[in-house]
Amino acid sequence: MSLVEIKGHLGIGPTVRGIALAAPDDFSARYDLDRDRGIFSRPSHKLYGEEFVGRILVLNAAKGGVASAWMLREMVEKKKAPLGLLLNDGNPVMAQGAAFAQMPFMDRFDVDITSAIFTGDKIEIVPAQGIVRILSRIKAKD
């Protein structure tokens, strides 16, 4: 039973459940992350200092260059990867990286996904159906 069901475009990867880490900011594996420590390292990023390993990232747009396509797989293999990725606005690099890493990824939702999902929400992503479910909410949004 879910609290809310959100529709997006068909995505990539398997169904997963996990805890969201959300912010109205953009995403690049190269530009924003310390991939060794598993934290957001760009001082100006809204998730600066936050640990991302094993979380479902909920962010606005894919940014920057091609690096994420190789890097997501490297992060999965080194067990320093997010569990999944939801963006309002993806780009080919993220889709290619997610397909290569076999990381669940969706975009193009019928709402602003960074407003609909809060950090700490337990969510389920079903990429094959283009559905995200909010299963539980443990705290109010800041």
Partner: protein, 435 residues
């Protein structure tokens, strides 16, 4: 169905989607493994990505560019390429011409920059793995047209963001970001999914901008790219720009393009009356009337002020991204002749190996090195473990003429300051950021 589902990725996962793009007989045969294991992996991967973006079918390509910096590829990328290379040749038959612009490895300078890492050995591993597949590895930069370039309207499978935005906008070729593994997939199938910038309708301008000043140097052009990229912040937006003043050089457009792609994931732009698909506003926008935003010099000034740093002790100046041309190195040498770089500052001048050799033949390299600067060839500063470099040297304040590098190096823990080449060199001589 592929091998998704919590396990470590398997190298030859097949297609995720049950129903998706139209495949012709050859593509179906590839998917069925009749053209070898590499093509089977590649077409399945491309089909997933194409379906994700609602591609109806594939478009044939002749040219592929593989982006290969060692940091980006990681150990898993190398392992993947080596596993492809270990297949029998009949299982990994190429169907396009592919080039990878490695730009060589500068043993002396990388030993200084990365004392804890043997980048030469790691880089050679990547060159050998790709070479075994038949990917041509060289020291050139594809935007210099130093390798075979696509023609106007030709579909291609290019990887690096600077190369994709350049080919779409300045050459008029058709390309999406075919990043890393995606360009390898194109190499094995000789095609790419037809979506995005392969479709004429997606190439028209969606947003209009007008410059009401004439940029003074290439870093100003980079700032303009950053401002537009930030404003649009979407791969699918296409800006068109009207200029004041003389038409820009290819180098100036290239700096703007790099920054747009870096700050906004932009893959295509038009400059009215300059780029090939924008002889006028109407053609650029496909007949639509666009609102046009003005960019003035105050916007550019505000961007510079964001990064600050004036008066700070300066640890490193990296002139790279894109690597310097001979004409820029002539400017650098003139600024350094008879001067000395401050002891606390490292001045790094990046150029492709052939350019460095050409500069040595006319005495420029010697002038630069006599001043205490380093001419570095090989991959760009940001693409060679820049965070490790910062930690190894305890560097903090960085200056560069590359607005793209500013964006990336902030994430690696530097405090970057964008500035013209002239200001960068003068700051390196004084050992502090000058205004």
């Amino acid at each position: 169905m592929g091998c998704y589902g919590g396990e470590p990725p398997c190298l030859f996962a097949t297609s995720w989607y049950e129903e998706n793009m139209k495949l012709d007989d050859i593509e179906k045969a590839m998917l069925d493994g009749k053209h070898g294991k590499a093509a089977a992996w590649a077409i399945g991967f491309q089909k997933d990505v194409g379906t994700f973006f609602d591609a109806e079918d594939f478009v044939p390509i002749r040219l592929v560019h593989v982006s290969t910096d060692r940091e980006t590829m990681g150990d898993s990328g190398i392992a993947f390429i080596e596993e492809l290379g270990n297949l029998r040749p009949s299982e990994r038959y190429p169907r396009a011409y592919a080039t990878a612009d490695f730009r060589g490895f500068d043993k002396e300078n990388f030993s200084f920059l990365l004392p804890g890492r043997n980048l030469e050995v790691q880089g050679t591993q990547a060159v050998e793995a790709l070479g075994k597949l038949g990917v041509v590895t060289n020291h050139a930069y594809v935007n210099d047209h130093s390798v075979t370039a696509p023609g106007f309207g030709e579909a291609c499978g290019y990887s690096g963001t600077p190369s994709v935005i350049y080919m779409n906008s300045i050459v008029g070729a058709r390309c999406n970001f075919e990043a890393g593994p995606s360009s390898l997939a194109a190499f094995f199938t000789g095609r790419v999914p037809r979506y995005g910038f392969h479709l004429k309708a997606k190439r028209f301008a969606t947003h209009g901008f007008k410059l009401n000043f004439s940029p003074a140097n290439i870093v100003d052009w980079g700032v303009i790219g950053a401002l537009i990229g930030r404003e649009l912040n979407s791969y699918w937006c296409v800006p068109a720009l009207e200029l004041t003043g003389p038409p820009p050089s290819v180098l100036e457009l290239n700096h703007m393009a790099l920054a747009m792609a870096s700050y906004g994931s932009t893959a295509m732009f038009h400059v009215v009356n300059v780029t090939p698909e924008a002889p006028d506003w109407e053609t650029a926008a496909g007949g639509k009337k666009l609102d046009v935003k003005t960019i003035n010099f105050n916007h550019v000034k505000a961007f510079y002020q964001e990064w600050g740093g004036i008066g700070d002790e300066l640890d490193v100046v990296a002139l790279s991204t894109p690597q310097l041309t001979v004409t820029e190195i002539i400017e650098v040498a003139a600024l350094l002749e008879g001067k000395r770089v401050h002891d606390r500052t490292a001045l790094l001048i990046y150029a492709p190996e052939e350019i460095k050799q050409a500069c040595a033949r006319i005495g420029l390299t010697q002038i630069i090195e006599r001043a205490g600067a380093r001419m570095v060839h090989g991959h760009d500063f940001f693409a060679t473990f820049a965070k490790e470099i910062r930690l190894a040297h305890k560097w903090d304040r960085l200056m560069t003429h590359s607005v793209k590098m500013v964006n990336i190096c902030e994430g690696y823990g530097y405090r970057p300051t964008p500035a013209s080449i002239q200001r960068c060199i003068q700051s390196a001589i004084e050992g502090k950021v000058i205004g």
